[in-house]
Assembly symmetry: C2
Homo-oligomer: 272 residues x 2
């Protein structure tokens, strides 16, 4: 079945690398690294990349919807417009298809999750972050992540997450949180609560193999002062993001899109 | 005598920390870290902080001119205007004073160096970086630095510096480079060339003492995967920036401001 993930954040926050890391393949090459500022798109573009992958024995038709140009201009007013339009267009496409054929033959191209990359400033959310997230939180499962979190020490991450979560509450931003059910077993409840407690996830991405001080081969980044391991939960929250997106909560993301977000859109649209 | 350093870059690039590290004192407290996005200034402000310090036996009246708000808004058009005005006002103040009193009693409040913080995206200069630097390179000794360079591996820094220097050449941006004289001894020539080769400096700042794996107490940042040392030339170019600003080339920065940049400004002004 389909999994459609939209990726949003200014250039250079490791978005391409993170997508390659999540799905363990070079969906994005390093070539885009060399585009000079003057040749970058002057408006936000929408680009899709699809691949058939297998995760945990489940075969997925994955589509990553990239949004190059967002946040990169001198004037970023309305930089969210083409992104919101794309999300709406996908709902409209589904709406139209629903009115014509039996539901279970419709290809689902709706956005199931939007990963929003927060720059690791160490302060709090930026005006653009807040404005953007408010534009989309009623239309997508919003998953904010702290980009390139290896920039921050453990204490800085704790404080930064606290301030981000304060901003999220202050501005009434709706973040995707996995549901917890009364009849879940204790292990599930604990691990879900533990996952929720780490939001927004502090992520690091890498598809390069590096050697640790104790001679293990791991995915990570090698610095003169040490090696950060992407899959090490002591080093960052990558594993939790992967669990959220492609393991434990994949079905929930798709269902909430169909049963809640799409239904809201449809209701709003039919009112007009 | 006076040393006036202007500091420009978006919020969260470690500017306050770097200034505290360069001059070994808490000029800036951590309080500004907690200002929420909605309470940040909507225009770029100019704020000065002064301190009497001693560097290498030389007593300096140091002034840091901070520019909070630059690059932080959704729309950053003209975010350079108040900065350029401030630089010009300082030239005008000197021009007026020069016409009244004997030169050697004038307090020099002109900007002797402008440190511009480049976000460590790993790609190339951003449109705002290029536009800003072109606005000021004819008026100040421009010293671009790669902020929070511990975000990048050694290879990434080499490639990023290459692309930045390509952009600088493409856009004819005038960066401050220490002069090299024919009668310099070989050691001086080599160390100056070595300094120039490292531009833009990849810097890291810290006023916190941390303990290394081999039990040394150093200024640095402690991560679960290792300790980066600010004063270690294998880890970053901090020492070279410090040499440029407060040791070997301090006099050259002041002289070039007075003999070249100020004279240009004066000539342009008198033409009009
Ligand atoms: N420190 C750090 N750097 C990263 C990380 N992920 C990617 N990078 C580097 O950041 C630069 C930009 O990465 P890229 O994936 O192209 O970012 P994008 O512009 O958001 O797609 C490259 O030099 C990457 O190697 C990360 O998790 N931490
Ligand atoms: N990775 C890294 N983080 C830094 C560095 N310098 C400062 N920081 C952290 O970045 C955050 C913002 O620093 P600050 O000096 O307030 O940045 P400013 O907004 O530019 O003045 C704080 O959490 C600092 O501890 C650095 O060189 N490297």
């Amino acid at each position: 079945f389909n999994l459609n993930v939209m990726v949003v954040g200014e250039s250079g926050l490791g978005k391409s690398t993170l997508m390659n890391t999540l799905f363990n393949r070079n969906l994005y090459s390093a070539s885009s690294a060399a585009i000079p500022a003057t040749e970058k798109p002057s408006a936000v573009e929408i680009e899709s990349l699809s691949a058939d992958i297998e995760e945990n024995g489940v075969r997925l038709h994955l589509t990553i919807i990239d949004t190059p140009g967002f946040g990169d201009a001198i004037n970023n007013t309305d930089s969210w417009t083409s992104i919101v339009s794309d999300i709406n267009n996908r709902f409209d496409t589904y709406l139209e298809a629903e009115s014509k054929v039996t539901r279970n033959t419709i290809a689902d191209t709706r956005v199931h999750a939007l990963i929003y990359f927060i720059e690791p400033t160490g302060h709090s959310l930026k005006p653009l972050d807040i404005t953007f997230m408010k534009q989309v939180h009623g239309k997508v499962n919003l998953v904010p992540v702290i980009a390139k979190s290896d920039t921050m020490t453990e204490e800085e991450i704790v404080e930064f997450k606290q301030r981000i979560n304060d901003d999220i509450i202050t501005h009434n931003i709706n973040i995707f949180k996995p549901a917890q059910f009364e009849n879940d077993d204790d292990d599930t409840i604990l691990s879900t609560q533990d996952l929720i407690a780490k939001i927004p996830f502090a992520v690091v991405g890498s598809t390069t193999a590096v050697t640790t001080a104790d001679d293990r081969q791991v995915r990570g980044r090698s610095y003169p002062w040490g090696v950060i391991e992407v899959d090490n939960e002591e080093h960052c929250d990558f594993v939790r993001l992967r669990d959220l997106l492609v393991r434990n909560f994949l079905e929930e993301l798709r269902e909430r899109t169909g049963n809640v977000l799409y239904e809201n859109y449809r209701t709003e649209k039919l009112k007009k």
